[in-house]
Structures are given as structure tokens and as C-alpha cells.
Symmetry: C2
Subunit: 305 residues, 2 copies
């Protein structure tokens, strides 16, 4: 049985893409495969599973040696179990920048495309066989695209992502704005999460110069709900950084509707990074970064110390 | 202008695939691109270029920072200029195991497939547009497949590689056996090469336990021409290893027709590797390994210390 999974702290694409690919392998390729999760799905992904009537995949922490696996929506070992390179990687399907570090024991299938969403790549790989997919699979594909493009607002959006989403929505009779509103509202309901959980919810580790950074992004239609908690979030940062072996946590609160990010500025290091990376003048404990919505396209490439 | 290149010490696939992809980008995608080489093509690749009337690409050693590049037929930094990660990698098309180590600054296209030949992957990516290709491009594609599959004898051969080659040969009116015979004869003419040049001709660096190995494979229809030079080849090994920063050179002389390899055994380390890796009993300064033809599928996965 092949295990298919995305990154830790699964968002909608990392929850939905394994389900889509498991359907394709089981039903079309007649290859036994199982979608799994490397952690609890976020609130939006949880909503999307329920919305499309899909079962929540089992959550696991570690991979056994030589276990056959397919990795989707990441190629970054830091976002995967430490045991990943002892497993037998069969394929990688991803839309992030190439990080390096994953190794295979044999030639494998790797499909990376500069698209907004893993599900869009899967749409293309599945091709005409997608006609055989049940509505829930097509709906999950649509939700992945709406999520990763923030309803086509993110600069990662390509014409192809939009065209695929529009075709799926038309076929399913779904109003994309309505569905996206519900998804973003679910994601914005953060009341149940601790500060540490929020800092880790959609968080990726990157090295910038000599600093290991945990770069957290919270995409929300209600940034004030997060920013009201800014003091306790900043207090939680050193603890989260220490527990996760990072030098600093950066939290970008992305306002999906206003298309801007607010960076929390707990100390002089982050203030200097905001200045060096985004030309931002920091005067208080937050700074607004107009137009910044994408960690992949805008934050990671800009970050300097 | 995008530079497209394969690995150092270019064989037919690393010479031909950049030419095929440059044709596709220039003529179909209207994107200016140039095939280049990271060294002199081997004798077979040189023959193939002349056979199909294709111009020999320019040879370069280094890549400029931020230069846009496409890497084909390898994903191994050890087979590429050290400056490769400072360039702007736009795409990777390859059929080798995932080594890890290449990094991109932005999301890129990566297409790796467990096929025998990069040109077969390109055949699939180009799709119906291949009908627009001139015979020389289709002929180069065919020659790449014949070369990497050793006329379908190598265990790396898939049904798909064979089907693509057969369709191309039928369309071009080419007798594959005749063409392969000429290609392998060209590759077997090693008289012009020094011992050091032979040891580096089709050579890849791999780490096995704490040893850095330069694993050389000479595919030939006339193994005796190489084996007659075994003493001077073994004498040249320590010098080549020292110059290239390796601990040991391994030379496998692959007999394409008999489908076996002869490993030169210059010392106890190599004798022990032959025993541990292939269960071979070494009594002299060479050992025959029946059925061994592929570095990728058979030698690299087996190597132990």
C-alpha cells in the first residue's frame, strides 16, 4: 500500500491533493494507495473535507524504512518526517521552489510545475480520466485551487489555475465566491487555537543567512481577530522557536480581502528584516506590507538579514 | 537566451536532448534558447551529430550568476558546474535517481520519469508538436534512445522507450540495428584517448559509505580494445582519483553484445567491493559480472563497502 501525503501542518492543498491522487491510483491505475496526513488539517481543510463529504485521512507521524510513499505539495525535508529519506519515494508532485535534500534509491517520477496549486498539476496529469472522478474529488480539486490562490487574488495564480477552477465550478454548479467565502471564514475562526498552535499552523522553516526562521503565514478575512492577540503571540514566539530549533518566528497575517500582510515585530531583528527585505519603516510592534500575500512568491525571495 | 545542457562528459543523450529541447523552445514555444555542452561529446555523440547533420553545440565550462538555464539528463550537482546553484534554474528534465542538491530561487518545472532516456521524456512533453520537427530532431531523439537502451538490451529499457523508438524509426525509414551498430562502433573506437580521458569519459561521482567514488562505465562492442590497456588504465587510476578529489576510480567495461561487465580490480578495496556488492569472487585483476549493463539500475544500487 502506497502512502500519499503532503507537508506537516496540512492546509487544504496538502489535505486534498493526497485524496485526489489516491483516488487516481486506486480507481484508474488499479494501484493500492492511501491518503494520509502528517498532522491535523487546518480549519479550512477540515471544513472542505466535511463540505465535500470526504473522510478525514488517518494522521501519522513517522514513515517506516522502505515504505513506498508519494510526496505531494512539498519537496522540503524540513516539512516532512525525518525518516522520509529511508522510505522508498516513488513520486513527488509539487509546485514549490526546489529546495534539494530529498533523495531516491531509484529513478522516480517527479512533476513540479510553477502553478498555484498541486491539485492543478494533478488535473493535468490525470487528463481525460478526470471525467471518471466523483463530484467530491472534483470539488476537492476546486477547493484546493480556491485555497491556494485565495480566490485568484494571490500573485501565485496563473491563468491555467483559474481556467481549471472555472471549468470545475461550471461542471459542479458551484459558485466559487460563495465557496471561497465559507472556506476563508472557516480558516479565520482561530478562537480554538493556542498562540503556539497559531504560530505553527501554516509555518515553514527556511534558512536566511545564518538564521533558521520559522515563517508563519495566517491567511484570514478577519485579521483583527489575530492582531488582537498580537502581544501574547509575540510572547509565545521565543518558546516556539526554542522548541522547534529555530532562531526566530516570523508571523505574517495576510488579509485576503485587502491583499496585504501585517508582520508582527517583536524585536530589533525582525524590525531590521522588515526594513532590509521589504523596505518597510517600522515604528511599532506591527508593520503593514501592502500587496504581500504569498510566502513562496513574495516573502521567501525577499527575505534578507 | 536560455542555455540548455546535460551533464559533464556528454554522451549521446546529454548531447542530443539539449538540441531537441532547444528546437522545441525556439520553434514551438518561441522562446530563445541555445543547446550547449559541458565538455567534448564522446565518440558516439560526435558520430550521431554528424550522422544527422546537426551542428556541434558550443562547449562552456561555467555558468554566470542568474543566467537562465535548463538542466537535462542529470539532477546531480557533481555532474554540473559548481556555479549551477547561482544560476536561475528554469527547468530540469531527467531520468536518473533523485540526488538532491539542486535548488531553485522560484518554483520551476521539474519532470523526472523512470524511463531509459531523457529524449523519451521530451517526446512525451512535446506531444503532437513533434510532427513539426525536422527529421534531424526526430533522428537525434531516436539515437538518444538507442544509445541509452543499448538497442533495448539495457535493463533500464521500458516498453515506452521501445515504442517511441520504433515509431520514430518507422517514420524516418531507419533500420535501428544498422544505426545502433554504427553508433556503438563509433563509441568503441577509443584509440585516440589517453588512459585518463577513458577513465573520465562516462564517469559519475557517487559517495558510498565514507568513500567518494568515480564510477566509470565504458560501453563497447569491442571490450578487448579496452581490456588490452588494463594495466596502464589501472596505473592511471590513482592520478585521476587524486586530481578529481575522489578516493577510488571504478572502471566497468560493459560488453553491449554479451550483456556483461568487466570490472578492473587494481587493489584490495575494489576486490572487496566486487565481493560485497556483486557477490563476485575475484582472483585476478579483472572480474566479469554477468548481466550487469546499467550504472543507474544495477551498479549504483548494489555498491557497498
Amino acid at each position: 500500500m502506497i502512502k500519499i501525503f503532503g507537508h506537516k501542518a496540512p492546509d487544504t492543498d496538502s489535505t486534498g491533493s493526497p485524496i485526489i491522487w489516491a483516488w487516481y491510483l486506486n480507481e484508474i491505475k488499479k494501484t493500492p494507495a492511501q491518503a494520509i496526513l502528517l498532522g491535523s488539517p487546518n480549519m479550512e481543510a477540515d471544513f472542505v473535507l466535511r463540505h465535500w463529504g470526504l473522510e478525514k485521512p488517518a494522521i501519522i507521524q513517522e514513515i517506516s524504512p522502505n515504505e513506498p510513499i508519494i510526496i505531494v505539495d512539498t519537496n522540503n525535508p524540513a516539512e516532512l518526517p525525518t525518516s522520509v529519506n529511508d522510505a522508498t519515494i516513488l513520486a513527488i508532485i509539487d509546485h514549490h521552489l526546489l529546495v534539494g535534500g530529498l533523495k531516491s534509491k531509484n529513478p522516480i517520477e517527479v512533476t513540479m510545475r510553477p502553478l498555484a496549486c498541486t491539485a492543478t498539476i494533478m488535473h493535468d496529469l490525470i487528463g481525460v480520466d478526470l471525467a471518471l472522478a466523483p463530484p467530491a474529488i472534483k470539488g476537492m480539486m476546486l477547493s484546493c485551487i480556491l485555497s491556494d490562490t485565495l480566490l485568484f487574488r494571490s500573485p501565485t495564480t496563473t491563468n491555467h489555475d483559474r481556467a481549471v477552477a472555472e471549468a470545475l465550478a461550471a461542471e459542479l454548479g458551484v459558485n466559487m465566491t460563495d465557496l471561497a467565502d465559507k472556506m476563508f471564514a472557516a480558516k479565520s475562526d482561530i478562537s480554538a487555537f493556542s498562540d503556539a498552535a497559531l504560530l505553527r499552523m501554516d509555518s515553514k522553516e527556511y534558512q536566511v543567512a545564518d538564521k533558521k526562521l520559522r515563517i508563519s503565514v495566517l491567511e484570514t478575512t478577519s485579521p483583527n481577530i489575530v492582531l488582537e492577540r498580537k502581544l501574547s503571540l509575540m510572547q509565545a514566539m521565543p518558546l516556539v522557536a526554542a522548541e522547534d530549533g529555530a532562531d526566530q518566528v516570523l508571523l505574517f497575517v495576510v488579509d485576503i480581502l485587502r491583499e496585504e500582510a501585517t508582520l508582527l515585530v517583536p524585536n530589533a531583528l525582525v524590525a531590521e528584516m522588515a526594513r532590509a527585505s521589504f523596505g518597510a519603516l517600522v515604528t511599532g510592534d506591527t508593520v503593514t506590507l501592502p500587496g504581500i500575500m504569498s510566502r513562496k512568491k513574495q516573502i521567501i525571495p525577499a527575505l534578507k538579514l
